[in-house]
Symmetry: C2
């Protein structure tokens, strides 16, 4: 069960062909699935876009409760937290949905998604509803190819993410550099 | 041919089991291969770690000269540029190694790698020598699984990267947040 409330107005639909912009900066994200007692939610730093059409890749292994749920339900939500959620995101990653209802513990609010059974996270800056597109590298590398089916972005969204340095420290975003006038070969990306 | 000079003292060997720390933050990187007339060099924003042992994934498609070279030679170098190279990195991504010697054009210096034929980039903050580990998803998704065989980091390395926002704008790193004391479940990552 998703167990979420309905979509509030603070989220706007976001085009699938731009979903790479939510992931390419390398954010630390949270990933939800529908779960049994409560929806699962985990923290993930191994993710990337695969195409500019909403195809994504994430690494999720059997050490995460999400893995079993993803195998069975074949859908999830990738939620991009803002800097205000950095401690929460770390704490979510350092506890297990098998032991605790992280939504209650960490004050996160599940919202019913539009397509998948996994919930969005209301407090996050963006949410991407995904289905499993290809699991042929899951056995060997825990690597999942996901396809975004719907995406939602807060109307006040602005470069919200932080980046795990792989050692419990994180880089927040600093200055934004606008180099769109140099994208002479890749006009479609500017 | 690699065509590079020998390794200068400013680079130190970096442990393969920590290579994920160079990539997990989601940096915009440059990727080199040995090439024909000159080594190829391209810009890449679709990359992630796959394991904490130097296994990485990148998306490189046939629209890049690198693709053909990677198919044939099965090795490359992933170079992580610092903020001082942000314009260069964008310009490298907006020209083709089929047309121009980017090393000369953009003032980059190839260095002979220790294992692979592709050159390191002297001006970059870190360089990862990689071989192709698995190409089973290349045909369908242009997704390459690479294995780091050696890595080099500048002695003055410090969170050097910038993050492509997918639209020709980039987020530089801002504040570093140290949350290592919250990594209670993942002590090995802190």
């Amino acid at each position: 069960m998703s167990g979420g409330e309905s979509m509030p107005e603070l989220f706007e639909p976001y085009p699938l062909e731009l979903v790479h912009r939510l992931i390419e900066p390398g954010p630390t994200v949270m990933i939800t699935t529908a779960g049994e007692e409560w929806p699962t939610v985990m923290t993930n730093g191994f993710n990337m876009p695969v195409r500019h059409d909403g195809l994504l890749a994430v690494v999720i292994g059997p050490w995460d409760t999400t893995y079993e749920s993803l195998l069975r339900r074949r859908e999830c939500v990738i939620a991009v937290p803002g800097k205000d959620l950095i401690e929460t995101t770390v704490d979510v990653g350092n506890s297990s949905s098998a032991d605790v209802n992280k939504w209650e513990r960490f004050g996160l609010s599940p919202l019913s998604a539009s397509i998948v059974g996994a919930p969005l996270i209301e407090e996050c800056a963006a949410n991407i509803e995904c289905v499993v597109e290809d699991d042929s590298l899951v056995d060997e590398y825990d690597l999942w190819i996901l396809r975004a089916e719907a995406a939602w972005r807060r109307s006040d969204y602005e470069a919200p993410e932080f980046h795990h340095r792989g050692n419990g420290t994180f880089s927040e975003n600093g200055a934004t550099r606008d180099l769109r006038d140099r994208m002479t070969r890749w006009r479609n990306l500017s």
